[in-house]
């Protein structure tokens, strides 16, 4: 029952996101077809013929009905420029982006947990290095970190050549650092609020090793918000890591999105918006379903 309600709400969210992007993108005059054909010196009749072939001359509402009914069949339309189905473009590019997102999460999650735990436990002195590090990671723009990493590894410590065999490593590490910042902050907050609890004092009085207390007593109760923030991070990353992909010249959804925006290729922009909304909704759904497994105190009741 819970799953059914949640799934319905999720589908409505994705359909609404698709509708928003549909109407917003059509509020602008002009489209990729017109821009490209005008540039190549084609006449008005050629433009009209091409627009008719793509269905761009139909009334807005019937275009919308077509788009939404296509969406239900996982048909996202075709690119105005290449004629390639958008679903094909998105699924091809998504695999690159997902690889990067997973690797970044793999690096960022443990790092953020460790930094947050260490910073949260030593809450007394504000300037413990771990707290400063988390605050810094949150404030550093990812792409700047990326440029600096490229600079350091190319000119200062020239080991970039040896990284060629695993080209995903450097962008994933840079992204992972910013993921670690977000997860570190949530972890730190959770740890701070738990560290003073009576059951922690009791565990310490019992003489348990500090490491056990930190992981089993302090970290454990705060895992749900941490997991939720990790899922949100993954959703954002999977939606296209625009900056990192451009900086490291990687293929992927972010780069495709930017190209489509610059060329006014609406169906592609829309397809990526729908994909990001869907992945975020799905990730949240799975996470909520996993809550009671992570934290037995949580029960899925309405």
């Amino acid at each position: 029952m819970w799953a059914l309600r949640r799934a319905t709400a999720g589908i409505v969210t994705v359909l609404l996101a698709a509708s928003f992007s549909f109407f917003l993108l059509r509020a602008v005059p002009g489209n990729a077809v017109r821009a490209v054909l005008l540039e190549s010196g084609a006449g008005q009749s050629a433009i009209a013929a091409r627009e008719a072939a793509l269905g761009l001359n139909q009334p807005l509402l019937s275009q919308y009905a077509n788009y939404m009914s296509g969406l239900l069949r996982a048909d996202l339309g075709v690119s105005l420029l290449t004629g390639q189905p958008v679903a094909e473009i998105v699924s091809a590019q998504a695999s690159f982006t997902l690889q990067l997102a997973f690797t970044a999460l793999l690096i960022g999650l443990p790092l953020g947990l460790i930094l947050g735990l260490l910073g949260g436990i030593s809450a007394r002195s504000v300037f413990t290095p771990f707290r400063v590090l988390v605050a810094l990671l949150l404030a550093l723009p990812t792409y700047w970190l990326g440029i600096l990493a490229l600079y350091l590894l190319t000119f200062v410590i020239p080991i970039r050549e040896s990284l060629v065999s695993a080209p995903i490593l450097l962008p994933a590490a840079v992204l992972g650092l910013s993921v670690a910042g977000s997860i570190g902050r949530v972890t730190q907050g959770q740890v701070e609020s738990t560290a003073g609890e009576n059951f922690v004092v009791q565990a310490r009085a019992k003489g348990l090793p500090e490491g056990d207390i930190a992981v089993k007593y302090i970290l454990r109760p705060g895992l749900v918000p941490i997991a939720a923030s990790a899922v949100l991070q993954f959703g954002f990353l999977a939606g296209g890591v625009v900056m990192t992909e451009i900086l490291f010249s990687r293929p992927g959804l972010g780069r495709t999105m930017l190209d489509a925006v610059l060329r006014q290729d609406f169906p592609v922009v829309q397809g990526i918006v729908v994909w990001t909304a869907a992945i975020l909704v799905a990730a949240n759904f799975l996470m909520e379903a996993a809550y009671s497994w992570i934290d037995p105190r949580v029960r899925l009741v309405e």
Partner: protein, 265 residues
């Protein structure tokens, strides 16, 4: 004697005012013309040019100072837009209730389900690129979280006795919101607004980095990093300086938000 000054600083508002003043003055204090060459290109930092010169011989210090001002102003514009729309949507959803509330929540959820940078990029398809345009796109991208926070805060305030008393004495819905509910949300809105400000800084700088800020050559922090990265070997300072400036703005904004937020609870 200066206790009030110290209090003001610790409450976050003094810090915010000082930062605001610094932002306003920075542009006027720039020692050189940020737009034109004042020396040889790619000079390393010296007494005359503390941050060196960039690939076109422009003074980096002046460009950073004007850049901080421009980037902060565009983020302030984005934040104000996000707050104005977000507060209105949140208030309207709750004031009308029923289907309006449900519909609004579903729409806001959909807006929220699209990552901000992707959303801003999609909006730029409509607004076009340019200094003001990216501020508008960023502001629109961040209005949904504001609406959620305002709605949640108002839900709590609305249940308090003085609101009920206001309604009992015959105040209209508009008056109830304007002079009873919203004023009690100002601390919440202020501290969340600063969080949105620091998101907007990063978002705007990212869009400038992608070359969507318009005006080629303008001293915007994001654009400076993007241009400077191709001259990294000869003039690393032309990338390091804008990045440090950007990070400092975020750190300061986060510190202010923490203090203002502490006062709000």
């Amino acid at each position: 004697m200066f206790a009030w000054l110290s209090n003001l600083w610790h409450s976050g508002w003094g810090m915010a005012a000082a930062a605001m003043l610094a932002v306003l003055l920075l542009g006027a204090l720039a020692p050189h013309d940020p737009m034109h060459a004042v020396s040889q290109p790619e000079q390393s930092p010296s007494l005359l040019f503390p941050f060196g010169t960039d690939m076109l011989g422009r003074d980096m210090l002046s460009r950073i100072m004007v850049g901080i001002q421009r980037t902060a102003l565009s983020a302030i514009a984005a934040t104000l837009l996000a707050l104005a729309i977000g507060i209105s949507l949140g208030a309207v959803a709750l004031a009308f209730g029923g289907f309006v509330d449900i519909g609004m929540l579903a729409s806001l959820n959909a807006w929220l389900a699209i990552p901000p940078l992707i959303l801003a990029l999609a909006l730029i398809t409509i607004t076009g690129s340019g200094f003001l345009q990216i501020a508008v796109a960023t502001g629109l991208a961040f209005c949904a979280p504001v609406a959620f926070v305002v709605r949640a805060g108002a839900l709590e305030v609305r249940s308090r006795l003085f609101v009920m008393a206001g309604r009992a004495s015959g105040a209209s819905t508009v008056r109830l919101w304007w002079s009873h509910i919203l004023p009690n949300l100002y601390p919440l809105i202020a501290s969340y607004g600063i969080v949105i400000f620091s998101y907007s800084i990063l978002g705007n700088a990212a869009l400038q980095f992608l070359g969507l800020g318009g005006e080629p050559g303008a001293p915007d922090l994001g654009a400076m990093m993007s241009e400077g990265r191709f001259y990294m070997r000869a003039a690393p300072w032309s990338v390091i300086a804008p990045g440090v400036a950007l990070t400092l703005i975020i750190l300061i904004a986060n510190a202010i938000a923490r203090r203002v937020g502490r006062g709000a609870h």
